[in-house]
């Protein structure tokens, strides 16, 4: 089945939007690991 031009543009837009959202969530995940590291480093520092 041939896709129309509008359908192709729409699917590219959807793909780009969701991939950007995915990259944003991966960056949030890295930030989450960073926060854990900072907190644990601080706690260990206090304990020592």
């Amino acid at each position: 089945m041939q896709k129309t031009r509008a359908e192709i543009v729409s699917s590219i837009k959807t793909g780009a939007k969701t991939i950007s959202l995915l990259i944003l969530s991966l960056l949030c995940f890295i930030l989450f690991l960073d926060v854990i590291m900072v907190v644990i480093r601080f706690v260990v520092g206090l304990a020592n």
Binding site: G15, I19, L22, I23, I30, R41, V44
Partner: protein, 512 residues
């Protein structure tokens, strides 16, 4: 009763194996063209005659049977199992004659490490390797990361006789879309898009850092291939540490993470169903598992002098955690720092993270989050059953591309693979210890080989004992194919070689 290989099976397997060997000849065209472009005539002639050997061997194997039928599951397992050995041997020929390997076994180790996307290397003087040889190393990564069969199917090597057994035999149990060929197209297109975009970004960053443009483009392509397929080979001996560039490390962190996500989840995401990603059992397991392991890793690392200031710890620590969990094996610290400056607790934490690995259906290795998540769910189910009334029926569900019920067969599959991984990790560690190496390093190395992580402590190096080298080659191969293909193939070979046993009652009747 165990199934034996018949002569017909062997001829069909030979035919398809021949097609894959011919296909590997295609792989050598890329370094050959690279050698021509950069005027590297010795590598050019080496790849030309290696290409000839592959064409001859492939054609000879294809003559085993001119018109093969459709592959059955038993034959498909054998084709995939043998293909990874034959391709390994075939790819090691041009590498060995490059003069950068002490023995042929070292070249075979690198070829297997390349196609299984392990990333450990026994190469000598990597920094002065020709562009063509480097290109070949990363082409092996690309082929192995996507899967030999996936690439062969997407290029139409098997024509219309493509069988789903071939696809599933290569540790890819999940179809992206119902059609196998369409699935392989999707995987190839997505990989091409990610590698293409990241090559441009990393290339620009490398030029900014001060690497000359041609070298920057080539090196960025290589590290991006290696990063997305979670391989671990790098064009420089010092791995990513060589570049000393935080911006490059950031892009590679993101690329490694993108490479560790299942292709099936990508197909859902591209259809606009991002919710599937957040609901998936693998995402939940990754978040809990990596959160917990980061706590252990940081608490242990906090006492190390190398990571005394916060920014260095964040930069190096996060990179190392992501590099090992995606089983890439890139490093921003030296081997010596990994084993001596890093605390033993942080060192072993990295090994445990690497043992579990990334998501199923992605390019990363290890046990996989989905299996760990399923086993955790199974434990919850057992506890629920224990405390619920006799008449109650406990139903546990999980999300992985739609809602699924946790059945006994799903748990059995996850437990079997989990156990096989753990047993192989243990045996590998014992083999290392038996060779006289430090237990801690032997455990780390065994995990790195089986999970195809490839981060080495310096134990896998040129001049290592041959028996250990062969065992590591076996571990890389077994880990990439997730054991079942390998075990099924080994059992079938043994059964086929053993003489037929006549049942006792039949024997008595013949004698009487």
């Amino acid at each position: 009763m165990w199934q034996r290989f018949t002569l017909y099976d062997i001829r069909v397997i030979g035919h398809y194996l021949g097609m894959l060997v011919l296909f590997s000849a295609l792989l050598m065209v890329v370094p050959f063209v690279t050698a021509i472009i950069f005027g590297e005539w010795e590598p050019a002639s080496r790849y030309l005659w290696s290409l000839g050997i592959a064409l001859l061997l492939g054609s000879a194997l294809r003559f085993c049977r001119i018109h093969p039928g459709r592959l059955n599951r038993q034959q498909a397992l054998a084709v995939v199992g043998f293909a990874w050995i034959v391709l390994g041997i075939n790819c090691s020929i041009p590498l060995y004659y490059s003069g950068h390997y002490a023995t042929f076994w070292d070249a075979l180790f690198d070829a297997v490490s390349g196609i299984t996307t392990t990333g450990a290397s026994l190469i000598v003087d990597l920094d002065h390797l020709s562009y063509a040889d480097n290109m070949f190393r990363f082409m092996m990564h690309l082929l192995g990361g996507l899967g030999v069969i996936v690439v062969a199917l997407s290029l139409g090597i098997f024509g219309k006789r493509a069988s789903s057994s071939l696809f599933t035999s290569e540790a890819r149990s999940e179809h992206v879309v119902p059609n196998i060929i369409q699935s392989t197209y999707f995987i190839a297109r997505l990989t091409g898009a990610f590698i293409g975009v990241s090559t441009v970004v990393v290339g620009i960053l490398m030029i900014v850092v001060g690497i000359e443009p041609a070298r920057a483009i080539l090196q960025s392509f290589w590290v991006c291939v290696s990063g997305f397929v979670t391989g671990g080979f790098t064009p420089m001996q010092q791995s990513i540490f060589y570049y000393h560039a935080f911006s490059i490390e950031c892009v590679l962190i993101l690329l490694m993470l993108l490479g560790s996500i299942s292709f099936v989840v990508y197909s859902e995401i591209l259809r606009g169903r991002i919710g599937q990603f957040f609901r998936d059992i693998e995402t939940h397991t990754a978040l809990i598992w990596l959160g917990a392991m980061t706590v252990v890793f940081t608490a242990s690392l906090a006492t190390s002098p190398l990571f005394s200031d916060m920014l260095t710890m964040l930069r190096r620590g996060i990179f190392m955690i992501i590099s090992v969990f995606t089983t890439t094996g890139f490093s921003v610290i030296t081997n010596n720092q990994l084993t001596t400056v890093m605390t033993s607790g942080a060192f072993l934490s990295l090994a445990v993270i690497m043992a579990v690995g990334g998501c199923a259906g992605s390019t990363s290795g290890g046990i996989k989050f989905s299996r760990v998540g399923i086993i955790a769910k199974s434990i919850v189910s057992t506890i629920k059953e224990a405390i619920s009334p006799d008449s109650a029926s406990v139903v546990i569900t999980f999300n992985h591309i739609g809602r699924r019920i946790l059945s006994a067969s799903i748990v059995k599959e996850a437990m079997t693979i989990f156990t096989l991984y753990v047993v192989t990790y243990m045996i590998g560690a014992l083999v290392g210890i038996a060779h006289g190496y430090d237990a801690q390093n032997a455990i780390f190395e065994s995990v790195a080989m089986t999970s195809n992580g490839g981060l080495t402590t310096g134990l896998a190096t040129s001049g290592m004992p041959l028996s250990l080298e062969i065992f590591y080659i076996f571990q890389m191969w077994a880990g990439r194919l997730e054991f079942i293909t390998l075990l099924a193939l080994a059992v079938q070979i043994v059964v086929s070689v053993l003489p037929r046993r006549i049942p006792r009652d039949l024997e008595k009747r013949i004698r009487s």
